[in-house]
Amino acid sequence: MTTTESRPAHVVQDRPEASAPPDDAQLAAARKKAHRRKNSKNWSLFLLFAGPNILLILAFIYYPLAMNMYFSSLDWRLGAPRADPVGLANYERFFTSPSGLEVWRVTGIFTAGAVLGSMILGLLIALVLNKKIPGRTFARTAVFSPYVLSGVGVALVWMFIFDPQRGALMFILDRFGIEAPQWFLDPDANLLMVIIVYVWKNLGYCAVVFLAGLQSIPKDLLESATIDRAGPVRRFFSIVLPLLTPTVFFLLVTNIIFSMTNAFDILRVMTPTGNGTNTIIFEIYLQSFGQFNRAGYSAAIAVVLFFTLFIITAVQLRFVERKVHYQ
């Protein structure tokens, strides 16, 4: 056995009070000293293990956050040598100018459509997948799969489907005698189009989370309701939905956050310059790296987005805390 040799010296040194029984004052002093030494030793170990990651997070997440707040007070074009301080003018512009208000409108519609669409369809699919039928594992996997696929690839596929000249959707709508909207030209049609693609990519996530929620509902509760002659609709609204509330709330919050932050690939590929699809993240990109190079304004929007997400998350954390308390 080599354990005694390989045992580090600190194991013994850490507990000086164990070796001899000194008086109280000595003991306290020794404890303090040992504590301090252990602390500093722990700190250096901690930094060795976690330091690189913490440094990277500071350099590429927190530092940019701070810099954005500074940039947001400048009238500054990306690449320009000069920048003039303008105070809160960039924020004022984002909250009052027609183009700024348009971003809020588009973000609102996109978020509402994306969240409601994927949650309602996700719930419906989860209800079906919750039945014990053969092949449901495969169906669950298939339904979830678009969620892990490249947004760029997905956008390309759907561009072809939506194409007003040779798109599959045009042929299908034609068959039913419906005239297809002017995809890629009409701003409203564009917004509807990117919502549909986002919902397609996202609904599997909602379905799987809902399915987990459904499976945690106690079976005996549903059985006793069935014995009491409650029909499937009644069972859904009186038992399933109330017990599903935490899941619904969780999905609502995560979906709002995701739809505000994850849709960039689809928006950029399907509508490169943002014709009617300027949601807040897309606008941040377009303003600084699009044709305008308005870096100061872009930074102000980024700061607003950060605080919006911060508030949503804080509300969620509060709710979760309360739920835990009352259970």
């Binding site: 590429f60 760029v152 000249q165 990109y285």
Partner: protein
């Protein structure tokens, strides 16, 4: 229905005949009764089938179209399967973008980025759980907040940092800003906290230091959780678009999604959709295969937090 005239009586049996029949017949015949079959079809298979068609058909369409010659793309009578399959579209993709270089870039960025991120996540999570320092919770809170910051928010200052460091159009410039990992740290911290303390106490008595405890105990018993973090990281790195789009404009340094975005702006004719579908296949199918093989880990990682 007569519910408007007579109050509903939930205790009265509305279908005595059916009930009696069910009681009398053996269990297995019920499963094949016409009523049950119809019920399963209408409320089970039919909706699932519709859902599967909506989810799977666009992907089938993508693969099929990528093998279609131009005249089958621009046709007014499109067929689901290519009548005269060709690999011409893939050859054209390779002609428009340096495909091998771009694929290689994507593989390097994904693998190097993922390996470093997972290692950092493991060591950070271990430190947060097992190395007692005052303020560790505060540091964890800081990491949680970082988890919330979308890449669009840090994009502009990071662009300036990396540009100043000379990282434009370099692979390290693509990899570096994304290395700080909040997601993996968060997931593995939760996992490490759930490990039984006795596991580590025995090793401590043997005089094992933190390195040995990490690599000989914590990592081996946490392989499923680490696989989850790794796979989710790989998927995200492979699909990553915004940052590589900003930091590269040289074709030899682009990752696959960025190159495909460029391909889209070059090939903007109706007849080009076959080429674009070939591009989409190249970026989508690798992840589809990985997902099909290892979906258990990926789903659990991506829905973490929802399912306790």
């Amino acid at each position: 229905m007569s519910t408007t005239t007579t109050p509903p009586q939930p205790w009265a049996d509305p279908k005595p005949a059916r009930r009696a029949k069910r009681r009398s017949s053996p269990e297995w015949t019920k499963a094949f009764s016409p009523r049950n079959l119809a019920d399963t079809m209408l409320t089970g298979y039919l909706p699932i089938l519709i859902a599967l068609i909506i989810i799977v058909l666009p992907l089938v369409w993508m693969v099929s179209s990528s093998f279609k010659p131009v005249n089958e793309i621009v046709t007014l009578t499109p067929q689901l399967l290519p009548q005269d399959a060709t690999t011409e579209n893939y050859v054209t993709v390779d002609r428009r973008i340096p495909l091998m270089t771009v694929l290689q870039n994507s593989v390097i960025v994904t693998s190097v980025g993922s390996i470093i991120k997972v290692l950092l996540a493991i060591t950070t999570a271990y430190a947060l759980v097992f190395i007692r320092v005052p303020g560790a919770n505060l540091i964890f809170l800081g990491i949680l907040v970082a988890l919330m910051v979308p890449p669009e928010v840090s994009m502009l200052p990071n662009f300036m940092t990396i540009e100043a460091l000379g990282g434009r159009n370099t692979l390290w410039g693509i990899i570096l800003p994304g290395l700080g990992t909040a997601f993996g740290t968060f997931l593995l911290r939760q996992h490490f906290k759930s490990l039984p303390k006795e596991l580590f106490e025995a090793a401590e008595l043997d005089g094992a230091g933190h390195f040995r405890k990490l690599f000989q105990i914590a990592v081996p018993v946490s392989l499923p959780a680490i696989s989850t973090v790794s796979l989710v990281t790989i998927v995200n790195e492979w699909n990553s678009f915004l940052w590589p789009l900003i930091i590269t404009d040289s074709r030899d340094r682009m990752t696959l999604p960025v190159a495909l975005n460029q391909l889209r702006s070059v090939e903007d004719q109706v007849s080009s959709y076959g080429i674009l579908m070939a591009g989409a296949v190249l970026v989508i199918v690798p992840m589809l295969i990985i997902f099909a093989m290892l979906q258990r880990y990926i789903v659990s990682g991506l829905t973490q937090g929802a399912v306790k």
